[in-house]
């Protein structure tokens, strides 16, 4: 429950114990390429790697080290590849899909082929109406890729504001908001989302806002805990000692230091948002007209056909959802690793 931190004005137990330099030799400090600049220039000898370092080059080197770590991680590359493909589908479905999302597949002789398995005529088969499953999957990427990032961005924005205020000021505001956050966190998002969307109706703004609001508490908790850790650091004390206002300290001092967490959090939330949107669509709670391509809804329409061995109209959309979320989570995981490295 409590994070073991104390707010200003409360007794902090012991003073910080007198500390000595820790013996650091069991860990090799500093990754290669992250040269630490030496203290003073020796009056006797010029130090190696010293004077000639171009400062700009040095900073570039550090950034490129992180980037290299990212680009060398196979998970990141695979995730990026998958997400890139789906974005391409979302942007240019007309160019990629052989048929329209509601277009019935017709052979050269004009005949339709409903409920046909994967073949050269329809790579992923056709559904009950005779639509091309492959094309519907490509068209289905767009709604997901618009709604999920928007919802995730809003939740991260909300969570950041709340987390900063709660983690920096603490006190009773934090206590009260923490309880509300806990309350939200004690119920699966999907149940509350179901409730809200049933009450307010399934339109895109409602779906986006619902997911954004329901994700905000999780983001808030994450950001709050890192902000609390940051606010304990002496640079914040130092800012107070030169008379900075709270807003400046939160936005200019602390926020940059939690930006890596924000990026990871955003990516993770996009993954969960897709997860949630697909599940809601499976329940029939989706925006757009009834015949529009939608992965979750298409599964809902067709999964009963599995019993009669017509697996393709539901399994392919299922794989689409799975691959996109896996792709995003692979990216999130790599970003997280690099941020913590």
């Amino acid at each position: 429950m409590s994070d073991g931190h104390y707010s200003d004005g409360k007794y902090t137990g012991d003073e910080p114990r007198d500390q000595f330099p820790a013996a650091a030799e069991d860990s090799i400090v500093g990754a290669p390429g992250e040269a630490i600049i030496a203290d003073e220039v020796s009056p006797f000898h010029a130090l190696k790697d010293d004077d000639d370092i171009d400062v700009v080059a040095e900073r570039k080197k550090m950034r490129s080290e992180r980037r290299r770590l990212l680009w060398r991680s196979p998970g990141f590359l695979i995730g990026l590849f998958i997400v890139f493909l789906w974005i391409l589908c979302g942007l240019l479905p007309d160019l990629i899909a052989p048929w329209g999302e509601n277009e019935v597949v017709r052979l050269a002789d004009g005949s339709t082929i409903p409920r046909q398995g994967p073949s050269g005529n329809a790579y992923f088969g056709t559904d009950g109406i005779g639509n091309d499953v492959y094309s519907r999957i490509i068209y289905g990427a767009r709604p997901v890729l618009v709604v999920a990032p928007l919802a995730a961005a809003l939740s991260v924005a909300g969570g950041t504001i709340l987390g900063l205020v709660m983690g920096y000021y603490r006190g009773w505001v934090d206590e009260v908001l923490s309880r509300i956050v806990e309350a939200f966190l004690s119920i699966p998002v999907i149940l509350l989302a179901l409730m809200v969307i049933v009450v307010f109706g399934a339109t895109n703004p409602i779906i986006i806002m619902t997911i954004a609001i329901l994700f905000t508490p999780v983001v808030t908790r994450t950001i709050r805990s890192v902000v609390i850790a940051e606010a304990q650091l002496d640079y914040v004390t130092s800012a107070k000692l030169r008379g900075e206002r709270g807003l400046f300290i939160m936005v200019r001092e602390i926020l940059p230091n939690v930006s890596a967490v924000l990026i990871v959090e955003f990516t993770v939330r996009v993954g969960y948002a897709i997860f949630t949107i697909a599940t809601l669509a499976f329940f029939g709670l989706t925006a757009g007209d009834a015949t529009a391509a939608d992965w979750g809804k298409d599964i809902a329409t067709n999964y009963r056909l599995i019993q009669s061995d017509q697996w393709w109209p539901s399994i392919f959309p299922a794989l689409a959802i799975g691959s996109l979320v896996i792709g995003i989570n692979l990216i999130a995981d790599s970003l997280d690793k690099v941020a913590k490295a």
Binding site: I187, L192, T279, F283, V325
Partner: protein, 318 residues
């Protein structure tokens, strides 16, 4: 320890109270006319008025909230809208039993595999095996329950025919038959939760393996297995317990899709029915039941952690 338990339970009750308030606002306050919503857009006004009167929608909000709180405490949510004549509770209890069966079975399958997987990954940190377990966990946790449900239903149920593809357990089925029907939904749950639990176990075990007290244990001259058994696991499994506690609650969210796919008459499917039929008393009861389950499992998890690690008791009381 007792003081810790009491304080922790009090906090849970406060949280539940706030949650009830949130649900109340969602269903009674924000919708401008809940009675109209229930009656449908084309119902005559008299019917709307009747519904409003019958449900006390015209009473002051505080009275309505008091009534809801009373329902939560007495476990009496009145009659269901969608199944007239049946009390909400008579619908919830059997469904909850069904879901509980599934959840226990799923945990029974998931926990050993995930915990052992996590420990192995930690012990073999940075090897191929570790990366395999971690990536597998990440990927499997990314798939919504109903999606893995559909996939399993097709592959293991329809194609291979190993397990029943639909979990319509016969009324008088014995335990083995019941479990046979539950294998596929339980495996779907395993797919999602294996990742969470294996990864958290791995992280906890790595932290414990790198801790100074583990070094002390090795330096005493203990064998690796003694060190693991006596020193590492007791500390490393604490995050696993915490995550399992919260995830059991969240599992009930995933059950909605899963129970629809497998046509299993549990709490998830009941929630879905209540939502689609706008049966608010039933929906409220379902959601609050899940919240109470969450409170209980997280409370238990915290108590187990406090028992495992006396230092954790410091946070609350003691």
């Amino acid at each position: 320890m007792l003081r810790f338990a009491v304080r922790r339970a009090l906090l849970a009750i406060i949280t539940l109270l706030i949650l009830v308030a949130i649900i109340f606002m969602l269903t009674r306050v924000f919708p401008s006319d809940p009675a109209r919503q229930l009656a449908g857009p084309f119902a005559p006004q008299e019917r709307v008025d009747a519904i409003a009167a019958a449900n006390g929608f015209n009473d002051p909000l505080t009275t309505q909230f008091g009534r809801l709180l009373k329902s939560v405490v007495t476990f009496d949510y009145g009659d269901s809208f969608s199944s007239p004549g049946e009390s909400v509770i008579s619908l919830v209890v059997p469904a909850l039993k069904k879901s509980a069966q599934l959840v226990f079975f799923a945990l029974f399958l998931t926990l050993p595999i995930a915990i052992i997987g996590g420990i192995i990954a930690a012990r073999k940190k940075d090897t191929l095996l570790d990366r395999l377990i971690v990536t597998l966990g990440l990927a499997s946790a990314s798939i919504p329950e109903f999606v893995s449900g559909v996939l399993l239903q097709y592959i293991l149920g329809v194609r291979l025919g190993w397990f029943p593809a639909i979990s319509n357990v016969p009324d008088n089925a014995g335990i083995l038959t019941t479990l046979d029907y539950l294998v596929l939904p339980a495996l779907s749950i395993l797919i999602v939760y294996f990742g969470y639990i294996a990864r958290i176990t791995r992280a906890g075990t790595i932290a414990a393996l790198e801790a100074d007290y583990t070094r002390t244990a090795f330096m005493k001259g203990l064998t690796t297995s003694q060190v693991m058994r006596k020193h590492v696991l007791r500390n490393s499994l604490q995050p696993t317990v915490a995550v399992t506690g919260t995830q059991i609650g969240y599992l009930f969210g995933g059950l909605v899709g899963l129970e629809i796919v497998f046509n299993y008459p549990g709490l998830g499917r009941l929630t879905f029915t209540a939502a689609t039929k706008q049966d608010f008393p039933l929906l409220t009861a379902c959601v609050i039941t899940v919240a109470i389950i969450f409170m209980i499992t997280t409370l238990l998890a915290d108590l187990i952690i406090a028992w495992m690690n006396p230092r954790a008791r410091l946070n609350l009381g003691e």
